[in-house]
Assembly symmetry: C2
Homo-oligomer: 359 residues x 2
């Protein structure tokens, strides 16, 4: 078997480079032969692709799912084209406390917006944001923040926006960790992304966050290209700038609210296939997991429970954990997970290491 696979792959290699087979044939045969009889060859790689995961039900569920769906001879095999895995971002792939990273960006952008529109200076919630009073800002409602989001995420071209987000990400630091936000991704989830991709899965981000925002860094940070980022999306308007150059301007109009029912709707719109695996951490991911689980064959649904305040944060309110302003994991969601056979990833038990920068 192994010798035949080597021969097949080497043949493809030869075609790719137009190497004359005549010459290579003898070497190929010889090497395949040597491979098939040498007992030290063909060992499984010793490094664990999920090294930051502790042995336990979560890691086991992942490994078993991948093995079953990639085993061509097994009953649960999934053809490569159908291997779609979707990941929520905030609280699933990276830190979402004390506040979503994109909201931090929008708050930081308020002075620039007010400079262009001075009439907003004395209007709430802009006035509070400009005051710099951290306590007052922390008390802003999600409705207030939405107003800030619309004002700060529209009115510029998509290129200008990209440049501005890049600039911000290069300088902004998380208040607790004093590191760029892009370093605050969970190492076990990064391993999981790579492990799934290495097993032929196409990994997608499906986030309530802004699609244009996440696309700026997703390729560099997660290895996920822009076209595999599905998020809440505002409309853009095609037009021409002063020099007559075609341009797309970001409009203050929501086209896709990629939360709750919006997640499966967004998945259908942008991907057009039902995922085989879905990962989230809050009630906003419930419908994505339900939709994923309603398909035939092997499916994997997982929810991250933040129960480790030391390296990260602890919040629920499931399992008696403290309530949180963002990213709530309710007891009802916990019960549904149990009832439907979704796996809860407990940070404390299931992850040996949370961040790459930890020693």
């Amino acid at each position: 078997m192994a010798a035949a696979r080597i021969a097949r792959y080497t043949a493809r290699l030869l075609r790719n480079f137009g190497i004359c087979r005549r010459l290579f044939g003898g070497l190929l045969l010889l090497s395949a032969l040597l491979f098939s009889i040498d007992p030290v060859c063909g060992q499984a790689p010793t490094s664990d692709p999920l090294a930051s995961w502790n042995d336990g039900p979560a890691k086991k569920a992942i490994v078993e799912f991948v093995r079953a769906t990639t085993n061509q001879a097994g009953p649960k095999y999934v053809p490569p084209a159908e291997r779609i895995a979707t990941f929520d971002q905030d609280g699933t792939l990276w830190v979402e406390h004390p506040m979503y990273t994109q909201v931090m960006y929008c708050l930081d952008r308020v002075p620039a917006v007010v400079e262009k529109k001075p009439e907003l200076k004395n209007v709430e919630p802009f006035k509070t944001v400009l005051s710099g009073d951290r306590e007052a800002i922390a008390k802003l409602s999600l409705k207030d923040l939405e107003v800030v989001l619309f004002a700060t995420l529209s009115g510029m071209s998509v290129e200008e926006f990209r440049v501005d987000v890049r600039r911000w990400l290069a300088t902004a630091k998380h208040p607790r960790y004093k590191r760029p936000y892009t370093e605050l991704t969970y190492l076990p989830m990064q391993e999981l992304l790579r492990y799934l991709r290495g097993s032929g899965y196409k990994t997608y981000i499906v986030t309530g966050g802004g699609q244009d925002f996440v696309r700026v860094y997703a390729e560099q940070v997660y290895g996920i290209p822009p076209e595999q980022v599905v998020g809440s999306a505002g409309a853009t308007k095609y037009g021409y700038d002063k020099e007559g150059k075609p341009t797309l301007t970001k409009e203050p109009k929501l086209l896709l609210n990629d939360n709750d029912a919006g997640k499966p709707e967004g998945i259908h719109l942008m991907i057009g296939r039902r995922p085989r695996a879905a990962f989230g951490n809050t009630a906003g991911d419930r419908q994505m997991l339900e939709y994923t689980g309603a398909g035939d064959g092997a499916r994997l649904m997982m929810l991250v429970l933040h129960d480790d305040a030391k390296p990260e944060y602890a919040y629920g309110p499931a399992e008696g954990l403290p309530e949180a302003k963002v990213g709530a994991f309710s007891q009802a969601l916990y019960d549904e997970a149990k009832q439907r056979g979704w796996t809860v990833i407990r940070m404390k038990d299931d992850w040996g290491r949370v961040f790459a920068f930890e020693n």
Copy 2:
């Protein structure tokens, strides 16, 4: 150079299969060495990937663009991740006359819709469609057809729709060619899709037609997976069927009108990158080509002109060709193409063969 590339690729091969390098090293070195000195190796494949294209400016433009953007040492090199090519469908990849295929599907679906909603029986335009009077149906306005489209493309689950489209495609035949619509793709464009993919380009359909409709057959017909089909898209609504199973229902609400300015807007929404190459055939593709051409570096913009009535259809009104109900190629578009350096593909001159079924 070549030896180093072979060595790099073989090293990756070795990692993939966990073969011990120690053993393979000698063979690898030897073969790389032999390759680098043997003059008969490294010949380009003799078969022309664009065999149905006649030699001329269109074929030349394609080949030069691909060579320039894939030549790592050249000034116009484009990294693989940015190799995005977008194709209109109707009239660019397959026949759109005498009427768009999807409209034919919708007309055929009217009896099923009226059976569910008998009150539509005596209401226009349904009454005319039900009459079966071909002449009267051909006279329906695009506004009338829109009413039929909304009525026939909503109210069912996305899975039910998929099954129905598949059933229709398996039986429906084009009135002139008496063949399934899916056989009426242009062979030169199929070659172009494969040639671009073989050169590391990701090929997308960006169609004014329905995204859900085209996704049913795009993978089988064009080798383009559902997630690479951008089209006009209706909203879906997440809910639960009678058995409590999660389901997405097609709504009579347009989310994305993927024509004209909607094409670059749809490309930004669904792909998030500016294409490097764009192909169309009508004024509805103008903005997509403009947007593509407004980017830096090498870009390829092409428009198909239908000027060959014998194997296909001849319509303009550009260049004195007869006016058409669908897929008009105006003189203004022709002039813009000339002015902006877009290449016009003239079916008669540039294509040696239009369909795969021709002898």
